[in-house]
């Protein structure tokens, strides 16, 4: 696939996709064309957004049952778990993870997803949780299906789960997608392929038999490593200055 790739990247160009990636058509009119302005990190970026996390419940992390219908979602039940940490392996406790995904048939409940894949009345495809003291998260869900989109002729997105990560510092804000290995659509997907080749595998979960629960659900492990210094670096500096 030949595509025009922009030069404007936020952060490490060996890790992050460029804003302009012509094969993903929505980037054409939305990617900035002027260079990003490099600025140092200040207290504004190294602090943790104050969140109202009291609203996050245990039930929010179970996408197979959180539709409020009393019924269970259809599909292959899976556990997705991992650690959120910084580049030094320090855990990110109390991070808010929000996830959204298509159902087992590849259909989103979103009003603009109108392809004729079946909806599942027992599946909203949304969940959230907070990481524990070790930075660990855990979702129970169903394996999402692939779905068609209008980017190019016969375009299908590989199965994926969207992840939003908030904390521990504003500069570490991350929204990304998790994929499954051995999916034949991975090599055809312009959104995944916009990521530099050496970093693509980081978005693919690993099957984890130790996470799999007998007669219940298959386990997948996927760790998230946040770029740059966390709030702890700022707090340590403030304390040393005090």
């Amino acid at each position: 696939m030949i595509t025009t790739i922009g030069e404007i990247v936020r952060g490490d160009a060996a890790v992050f996709p460029p804003y302009l990636y012509e094969a993903y058509r929505s980037t054409l009119r939305r990617a900035p064309r002027l260079p990003l302005v490099e600025v140092p990190l200040t207290a504004s970026e190294l602090t943790r957004p104050r969140l109202d996390v009291g609203r996050v419940t245990v039930e929010d992390a179970d996408l197979t049952r959180n539709a409020g219908t009393g019924g269970e979602a259809l599909g292959q039940r899976i556990i997705v778990t991992g650690r959120v940490m910084d580049e030094n392996g320090l855990p990110a406790p109390g991070a808010l993870l929000e996830v959204w995904q298509a159902n087992a048939a590849g259909r989103y409940i979103h009003k603009r997803d109108d392809w004729p894949g079946p909806l599942d009345p027992n599946f909203l495809g949304i969940g959230r949780c907070l990481t524990n003291a070790e930075g660990e998260y855990r979702f129970l869900t169903v394996r999402p299906g692939a779905y068609p989109w209008g980017n190019h002729e016969n375009a299908w997105r590989p199965a994926h789960i969207h992840f939003s990560v908030l904390a521990p510092s504003w500069s570490q804000r991350l929204v990304t997608q998790m994929y499954f290995p051995d999916d034949p659509l991975l090599s055809l997907d312009p959104i995944l392929n916009a990521v530099p080749e050496g970093a693509r595998a980081r978005l693919v979960a690993a099957y984890a038999h130790d996470v799999t629960e007998p007669h219940w659900a298959l386990g997948w492990r996927w760790d998230i490593v946040l770029a740059g210094p966390g709030a702890t670096a700022f707090e340590a500096r403030e304390q040393s200055a005090a």
Binding site: R30, A31, V39, P40
Partner: protein
Amino acid sequence: MSALPVTPSQTVGPFFHDCLLRADARCDTIVGDSGDAQIRVEGRVLDGDGAAVPDAVIEVWHAAGFARVGTDEDGRFSLTTVRPERAPYDRSTMQAPHLSVAVFARGLMNHLFTRIYFEDEPSTATDPILRHVPEARRATLVAKAGPDGSLTRRYRFDIVLQGEGETVFFDFTSPVR
């Protein structure tokens, strides 16, 4: 300790609304502790054709709290907050009051970081971060004040993703020494 491989970013895509903007995940008001000195920031998100971006998410953060709003069919967003305080830059310098902003949308492979400053705030002219921005582009980071007179001061701040009047977006380097 050797650095671990950083997780790359991906677009939010078109189907985030039910998750990121569900009733108890969106927030268009930052109350803060004092609760007074409310300001309202309104604007539009526009693409390289000047067309509305109807599927963007704007997150705003300052010391008083966090807000997250979506854009409507006309690309419009608005939020209300207590006026931000000045935050330190280094041990001897303060920053001008500002809101830290992240922009997400279908077609944005990474979110975009920017800031909202205020034109009627004198310290905006000497802000140490704005000094890193080419002078001709600084105005894209400064919200225009609406007519005075009401309790809630209104500001206008458009976010132009591409092309003429393109908003300044940041790439953060290392912490201020």
